[in-house]
Symmetry: C2
Subunit: 412 residues, 2 copies
Amino acid sequence: MAPIAVTPPCEPVTTITKPYSHGLAELDASLLQTTLTTSPRPVPALGSPEMASQRTCTDHMIQATWNSETGWSAPTLTPYGPLSLMPTASCLHYATECFEGMKLYRGFDGKLRLFRPDLNCKRMLVSTNRISLPSFPPDELLKLIAKLCATDGPRWLPKDRPGSFLYIRPTMIATDPALGVQRPTEAMLYVILTCFAPMDDVPGGMKLLASQDDMVRAWPGGFGYAKVGANYGPSLVAQGEARRRGYHQILWLFGDECYVTEAGASNFFVVWRTKEEGKLQLVTASLDERIVLDGVTRRSVLELARTRLADASAAAEEEGLEPLEVVERRYTMFEVEEAAREGRLVEAFGAGTAWFVAPVGKIHFRGKDIEVPQSEGDGGRYTKAVKRWLKGIMWGEEGSEAHEWGYVVEEK
Amino acid sequence: MAPIAVTPPCEPVTTITKPYSHGLAELDASLLQTTLTTSPRPVPALGSPEMASQRTCTDHMIQATWNSETGWSAPTLTPYGPLSLMPTASCLHYATECFEGMKLYRGFDGKLRLFRPDLNCKRMLVSTNRISLPSFPPDELLKLIAKLCATDGPRWLPKDRPGSFLYIRPTMIATDPALGVQRPTEAMLYVILTCFAPMDDVPGGMKLLASQDDMVRAWPGGFGYAKVGANYGPSLVAQGEARRRGYHQILWLFGDECYVTEAGASNFFVVWRTKEEGKLQLVTASLDERIVLDGVTRRSVLELARTRLADASAAAEEEGLEPLEVVERRYTMFEVEEAAREGRLVEAFGAGTAWFVAPVGKIHFRGKDIEVPQSEGDGGRYTKAVKRWLKGIMWGEEGSEAHEWGYVVEEK
């Protein structure tokens, strides 16, 4: 994979620094100005089409504006409604935009929780830096998100719906009304909450279509690691084609070697036995080349597996699971194919906020279907164990109520 | 450059086809509904800050909306003003957006002209296809653009300002108010006209900073050939760094071989003598790998050079220019560097709608400055000849009033 090698002498053109922030007003959640709606909208029923449409937002939204001369304005919490943008707005032409994806969980213990929200807020800063949008203190973003969740959570995720969730979308866009191709001088941060149906329950597992050389999601020196809009729109032609052909997502490969990178907008994991020693491994693409998103779910799966599925782990023993080794490395579709052919492929799953942990049942690669075993019918044993553990933390199940990854939102 | 090679068997995942259009309403300029402003705004003076800000739009705009169930609405021509978009709009999250850049010229013969607008309208369709936006008949877009130009041109480009221009920005955005990562089902086309200052007159020529391996503009299998927002936002960090260091633009290189691709948002040309035979050549990156934009100015420069600068051309003889060979191929920054070192580099320029034909004076590459000769002080002889020829066609100078590349807009 030649282009990855860095030929010296090559100091980076760009170092990620905080742009513009010297002496300018910082984003400050304590300045929040609240205007509540006088006409709250009906909350869709669980399982209703509105719930699944990803169109229905809650009653309020957070907004804060920024410009390069004064910095951040006081944030506001106001009734949800349309944005007014000039037709020249930078974000409508130059994809000067980034976002995060998080969920608000109504726990089985009655509490509202976020899952590791500090990681999302920090990654949002990585994304804004990559796409020339302004910096902000990630903790302040987290406070604003928590405030919105505290405002709309009680009615939109009522206590009689334990195990349900809302999707949280922090977004930043450049709003400069000027067509010059240049670093934005005006921006808007906003946060909205939408209804969202669970996507992890795919009968028979997800069917993935491996990408071909004419469609490449990300490249070394690009921006695959950042949650910028520019990673998503260009993937939709391939994704639409995959859906048309009956697949759920594209499995994005990279290079002639067909390195496995991501599945749709999720990270991708396989469990296999090694060819040489028959060692059981959980494998996912490493972050080294920065072509893969540093997913919060990805990271959590790896951390849980490293503690609970390691040799001599009590958790593994309790679940009756053979311990495994956790590996982050480059690996190729040819290796996956060979493992399947030789009966060494144990399971595979996608992991991300939207899809959660979704078992994979089939991968189409170069004219052939690779069947992925589903040891428990609706997924593999490891997939299901990891998912159960994460669920416990997200929804505050017995024994996990106080897990450090759960961030309890105090309701009014 | 290994990843470019296509390993068989690899039929493309996606073929570009007209999506959704079967039986749906087509974009139809004859249905245009016009509502003129009752409060026309003042036209900025030539050379004023408003003229240069790229913020001042004319009095009207064209809009047309589309959805996947009914197709295109009747287009409208209405007073210029803000767009109302839901915070969930696809274009604000997934960069489902593309645009074109064109100019409206007030000719020295008093006429309003577009320059090869059919090429821009066709390329807009290439871009909408790449970014999953709807198809449209390019001719209908051209008719709408001409209508807007005929409406605002007479007052915003008055006849007493021959040689001036407005910038035309056709834009398409996905407006679906839904967060699902999927092909858009709602979109909006709009066209605006903005004031714009000439950018081609850079004293001493443009200074370019060659990109390093940590920043790549485009890659094979990506979308570098399309005018989609996703090509621009991610380039702004490097571009901002270049400006901070006193350069005008990034010269985008690709791969370990440092192939020369584009300069900022323009195509890039060099004139050099070959090492072996001392043959004079005009060289630019080929379009084969689809990492370079198929620029209308690029294409026009090549076509003019192939006819007017060929061996035994009367035009070349008239200008006193040595004929040259026109070459589209992969070429590397090392070749440019070597040509400069050996005194074979004759000149270099960027070519695009915004920058027009802008001479290059210096390129910083791996710690060293490469000086580009400027045979006529403010550019090279070939750069200036090409620019003069293009200007003649764009502004209808004597002898070029009827050139087939000029599209005359009939004024009311």
